[in-house]
């Protein structure tokens, strides 16, 4: 064991204080979505991008906008449509004329040059436009023409998908899906939550969000979370969990062998471990537990598991496969 460098300026107490503050601010507008908020916050602390899946009207846009306000981050929204072009996102060179009457090309930054990008209904754009996000999401930079430009730090993409209206959509390719830290389902609220939503949004007063953290705070929180100790047997469990999503592995459950075409990538393991560390700190612990892995396993792995036709025919989704892998390892604990 080597002594890890102590993170500067961020204490665990401050980490929790910030996290709870962000969740509290978001909770002012997002009713009954505590787990959704925590998962999104976990991804943002890890520096990852989030794919939100849910029917329209559940507050996905509100969530992203609220995040921008609570974190004091720049916020942009792009509505993805079939005729959206890559330049509409990354920006383009336009001809401008100075006071002297000289014309020249000047780069006009697109909406991607922000801290928090909401890619609404990302699956409605063409693959060409979708792929324009690839470099930005992974490298935090865009290349237009012969010049590469860095994006602001921090940079997050929160994309949304409508799972029920799939005609005319272009499903995201595996490579792009793999760049999302997690895929979070936006559940439909319950009766009490619906009533609360009605009360809050139809009254005279409107909740006003305050910035409780900054981008720099998020970076510090990310650094601190990477110091959370993780015992070797817990890490081994995470490895076995990822391996269990591969049908060719010996320990794979029957559901995986039958329905999975390809399992989670090593990036899925990284997501799992990092998310579990953040989750432990959010829960006020200083070590990673099995239950942290279990809490982040489904959002971290569901978009990294590719099912076969038999799964489609049987109505099996990735969540059921991840649950089977979790159950297999819960038995072996």
């Amino acid at each position: 064991m080597t002594a890890a460098p102590e993170p500067e300026g961020m204490q665990p107490e401050r980490f929790q204080e910030l996290a709870l503050g962000i969740e509290a601010e978001l909770g002012k507008l997002m009713v009954g979505q505590a787990e959704l908020i925590r998962l999104v916050l976990t991804a943002m602390i890890a520096g990852g991008h989030v794919l939100l899946e849910g029917v329209p009207g559940l507050g996905k846009t509100v969530l992203v906008r609220s995040l921008g306000r609570a974190l004091d981050l720049d916020f942009s929204r792009v509505q993805f449509t079939p005729d959206l072009m890559p330049a509409d996102i990354t920006g383009t060179h336009i001809v401008t004329e100075d006071e002297a009457g000289h014309r020249r090309f000047e780069f006009q930054p697109g909406p991607i040059f922000t801290n928090l990008l909401l890619a609404d209904e990302i699956n409605r754009a063409t693959p060409k436009t979708q792929s324009a996000l690839l470099e930005a999401m992974q490298e935090r930079q865009v290349t237009v023409g012969d010049r590469t430009r860095h994006l602001p730090d921090p940079f997050f993409v929160l994309a949304t998908q409508n799972p029920i209206e799939l005609e005319g959509t272009c499903p995201l390719p595996e490579a792009q899906l793999n760049r999302f830290f997690s895929t979070v389902l936006v559940p439909f609220p319950g009766a009490e939550d619906l009533a609360e939503i009605a009360r809050r949004t139809t009254g005279v007063s409107e909740a006003r969000l305050e910035a409780v953290a900054s981008g720099e705070d998020l970076s510090q929180m990310s650094l601190l979370s990477r110091e959370v100790p993780m015992a070797s047997h817990v890490l081994e469990r995470a490895v076995q969990l990822v391996l269990a999503t591969h049908p060719q592995q010996e320990g794979a459950p029957d559901e995986v062998r039958r329905y999975v075409r390809w399992g989670a990538s090593p990036r899925g393991l990284q997501t799992l471990v990092l998310g579990a560390r953040i989750r432990a700190l959010l829960d006020g612990r200083f070590n990673v537990a099995y239950e942290d892995l279990e809490a982040v396993a489904t959002p971290a792995l569901r978009h990294r598991i590719f099912l076969n036709f038999e799964a489609d025919a049987a109505g099996v989704d990735a969540d059921q496969v991840v649950a089977a892998a979790l159950a297999r390892h819960a038995d072996r604990r």
């Binding site: 002594a3 665990p12 537990a289």
Partner: protein
């Protein structure tokens, strides 16, 4: 980290105790199941003695218990994981143990968090004491069943032991027969016409047959066959010849010149009689004419009396005729022939003594073999037969009055004569072991008296009663009685021959054999 390690070590000690109890119970279960398997298999393929196998079962159980306990020895990280699971520690203790030497803000905080949990916890919560009921129940059930099987009779084991006893009895019988053969071969009795060699060869052959017999019953049959063969070697006319010599001796003893030869003949002293006859032949030339005439007359009377031995009669008559005609040399030659005949009779007597000894020895040998065969029969039939005990008793055989019979009904002895008991009874003994009725319980008194006392049995009586002459002066008894020893061997041979030929329980045969052995002793 000392408090954490102490807590984990306390938990490990409890875990070791718990594992020890578990593995001891599992070892006992292994012992119980293996012992049960041994007992079950032993019902089909018995092993005797079984204690080495049972010891091996116990050793296997010990190995399982010790090996399992050693393999179950938990490491501290394993104990920490177990404690986390038991205490709901969410991997606090295991993480703290693994990062015990690491530094860093979060590591220090995590360590302190784990120590708080350890301090507030009890090792008994980590490893609660509990009895391993399942293996104990298996061990108890297996042990009880194995014990029950061990206590219950095992027919296969009984059969195995009977087979071994039969084999041992066969070997002992063979050795005994060989000892009899050597004893007879070493005796200095005369050997008429190589009969003694035939007798010893037959005994050796019987010993080999007994040793190679597949079972005790076959060995008994081989001995019975040997007895028949040995009896066939004996001269059946010996008794008649002896009677003829005795009668002739009595005639000769009435004449002074032939009195010594006559006395020896009548006393059944064949060797002495042959010598006296040769002396008489030598003395003939020196006798006066009157003595020669008297001698010729005595020889004629003796020849007349020796009807049971034609050769002797012919020689005596020839000597008488030659002497009457004055042919002394012819008379001498005839007397030499008569002496030769008497000598041969003596040798035959010796051989028959050896034969009787062999037959009796074989009969004694058959006793243990018969018991072994009886045991084998019980083991193989297992109650299918009611045994000989339900058969009517052999009450017509000479009873052994002093021996308690095994029949349910007492025999009805007809003890008119000493040793002539007539038993009538019905046996109802154990399966396979039943014997005849209590034959001759009253009349079957042993005729033997004190040691050395001469006992007489009713003789053929034809000689004594027909002649009506005075009894033997030497014995002082009625001349119609003869020493029983002269007939004992013949009686014994006939009796044993009879009991061998009929379906008679072996115990009854033993009684008969013992009866004659007591007489001869």
């Amino acid at each position: 980290m000392k408090p954490l390690e102490r807590f984990l070590k306390r938990s490990r000690r409890r875990a070791l105790r718990q594992e020890a109890a578990t593995w001891v119970a599992r070892g006992l279960a292994v012992v119980g199941l293996l012992a049960l398997a041994v007992e079950l298999v032993g019902r089909r393929w018995p092993v005797d003695p079984a204690w080495p196998l049972l010891t091996a079962c116990a050793a296997a159980g010990f190995i399982v218990a010790a090996g399992g306990w050693m393999r179950a020895w938990p490491s501290l990280p394993a104990v920490a994981r177990r404690a986390d699971a038991a205490l709901g520690g969410r991997e606090r203790l295991a993480t703290a143990l693994e990062f015990a030497t690491a530094g860093g803000l979060l590591v220090d905080l995590q360590r302190a968090d784990a120590l708080r949990l350890a301090a507030a916890s009890d090792a008994a919560t980590v490893v609660p004491a509990q009895l391993p009921w399942r293996p104990l129940a298996v061990a108890l059930a297996g042990g009880l069943l194995a014990t029950a099987l061990a206590v219950l009779p095992n027919p296969a084991l009984v059969h195995l032991r009977q087979q071994r006893a039969a084999a041992a009895a066969q070997e002992q019988a063979a050795e005994k027969v060989e000892a009899i053969s050597k004893q007879i071969a070493a005796s200095n009795s005369n050997d008429p016409a190589g009969k003694k060699d035939a007798l010893t060869k037959e005994l050796q052959k019987a010993a080999d047959s007994v040793r190679k017999a597949p079972d005790a019953a076959s060995a008994v049959a081989a001995l019975s066959q040997a007895q028949d063969t040995i009896r066939s070697l004996a001269d059946p006319n010996l008794g008649a010849r002896q009677a003829a010599e005795s009668a002739a001796g009595k005639q000769l003893s009435q004449q002074s010149t032939t009195a010594r030869a006559g006395t020896a003949l009548s006393a059944q002293n064949s060797q002495q009689a042959a010598t006296e006859l040769r002396n008489l032949a030598s003395a003939l030339p020196s006798m006066s004419a009157a003595d020669q005439a008297a001698t010729a007359q005595a020889l004629a009377a003796a020849a007349q009396a020796a009807q049971g031995d034609p050769k002797l009669q012919q020689s005596l008559q020839k000597a008488s005729d030659a002497l009457k005609s004055g042919d002394v040399k012819g008379a001498q030659a005839a007397l030499q022939e008569a002496a030769q005949q008497v000598q041969q009779t003596g040798q035959e007597e010796d051989f028959q003594g050896d034969a009787a000894q062999a037959v009796n020895g074989l009969q004694e040998t058959k006793g243990p073999l018969a018991q072994a065969a009886q045991g084998q029969g019980q083991g193989s039939e297992q109650g299918q037969n009611q045994g000989q005990g339900n058969q009517p008793g052999q009450g017509n055989q000479p009873g052994q009055g002093n021996q308690p019979g095994q029949g349910n009904q007492p025999g009805q002895g007809q003890g008119g004569q000493p040793g002539q008991g007539q038993g009538n009874g019905t046996g109802n003994g154990q399966p396979g072991g039943g014997a005849g009725g209590q034959g001759g319980s009253q009349g079957g008194q042993k005729p033997g008296g004190n040691p050395g006392e001469k006992i007489y049995v009713p003789g053929q009586g034809t000689q004594g009663s027909a002649n009506g002459q005075a009894g033997d002066p030497g014995s002082g008894t009625d001349s119609g009685l003869v020493p029983y020893s002269q007939y004992l061997a013949e009686y014994q041979a006939q009796a044993l021959n009879q009991v061998d030929r009929q379906l008679i329980p072996e115990q009854e045969r033993e009684l008969v054999s013992q009866y004659f052995q007591d007489l001869s002793s």
